[in-house]
């Protein structure tokens, strides 16, 4: 096999770009952008990962099949994140009459009701009174 041979300068340039992006993302971590911090950091990480995949892993010069398989990984990752978050993030957006917004997010199941013992439990007023007598 003899794949595409990239010039060394390409690798050094990509490495330089990755270093610059790292410096940017670390700098931004010390600036409060409110809700924007997360998408900005994630966007830079995706950009860095794309550079590594395209040039270090040679996907840019690979066959269509390799590209497809590589894309499959991120497609299913997107399905996993997308479907799960679209469920959890949208809970509580709409509350049906008589319903509760917290119903699905945290279900608390209490301890089971104490089983009434027939003898010596006179203080329990929940003891079944309709036990059939023999």
């Amino acid at each position: 096999m003899s794949g595409h041979v990239s010039p060394k300068t390409t690798y050094y340039a990509i490495f330089g770009a990755l270093m610059v992006l790292t410096a940017i993302t670390v700098t931004i971590a010390f600036i409060n952008l409110g809700p924007l911090n997360f998408p900005v950091a994630l966007g830079i990480a995706i950009l860095k990962a794309t550079l590594v995949i395209l040039f270090f892993m040679h996907v840019k010069y690979s066959s269509q099949l390799t590209k497809l398989i590589c894309g499959t990984a991120f497609f299913f990752l997107f399905v996993l994140f997308g479907l799960t978050l679209s469920d959890y993030l949208s809970r509580g957006w709409f509350v049906a009459p008589g319903g509760t917004a917290a119903a699905g997010t945290r279900v608390t199941i209490g301890p089971p009701a104490p089983i009434a013992e027939p003898a010596g439990q006179t203080e329990s007023d929940t003891e079944p009174q309709t036990a059939p007598e023999r």
């Binding site: 060394k8 690798y11 490495f15 670390v26 911090n37 990962a49 299913f76």
Partner: protein, 193 residues
């Protein structure tokens, strides 16, 4: 190899999904937890790991062009950088151990969010621990490849093992590219103002 990497993406994807959900639920704990991580050590390790990806790419290139001695040299440099990463990681873990920040019965943390910070640190150890395990595996693979390169097993016609171990090494690098901002960076700023 690519199919294997796809399964690896989903393997880490599950843990990242857990990270995202708990982050949505406990943003305050995430903010406090990420302040506990040393951004200098994490940043240093990021540079080291991306550097090792560069040397790995150059090793593959040397194998492609038939420069056998250069291949061995670049592979050894890659292993050295990988080892540096693991040593730094060891000291990060050691600090957590000394501070009793390892989740479990001996976990100690001051503050109202302590219970949820424990969840953050559990995910931190789960994600970085699995990543470090991949690094150890990659290191062992590279040791074998380096030995084979030293024995002149590869040529421009056949260098598949070098290329495949390179793919694996770059994948581990990509995982860290996501872990570093997610664990060390994103929620830090919200504590500043």
């Amino acid at each position: 190899m690519w199919i294997f990497l796809v399964t690896e993406v989903m393997f880490f994807g599950g843990l990242l999904m857990a990270y995202l959900l708990y982050r949505v639920w406990y943003p305050l704990a995430w903010s406090e937890g990420s302040l506990e991580l040393d951004i200098r050590l994490g940043g240093f390790n990021t540079v080291v790991l991306i550097g090792s990806s560069l040397t790995m790419a150059l090793a593959v290139r040397s194998a492609q062009t038939g420069a056998q001695k250069a291949t061995v040299r670049w592979l050894l440099l890659t292993m050295a950088l990988g080892l540096t990463f693991l040593v730094v990681k060891f000291f990060e873990y050691r600090e957590k151990y000394l501070l009793h920040h390892i989740p479990g019965p001996n976990f100690q943390f001051e503050g109202p969010e302590a219970a949820h910070v424990q969840i953050f640190l559990s995910l931190y150890f789960g994600l970085t621990g699995l990543h470090a395990l991949h690094m150890v595996v990659g290191f062992c693979v590279l040791a074998v490849i380096t030995w084979m390169a030293h024995r002149r097993r590869f040529s421009p016609e056949w260098y598949t093992p070098v290329e495949l171990s390179g793919l694996y090494w770059h994948f581990v690098d990509i995982v860290w590219i996501f872990l570093f901002p997610l664990l060390y960076l994103v929620d830090r700023a919200h504590h500043l103002s």
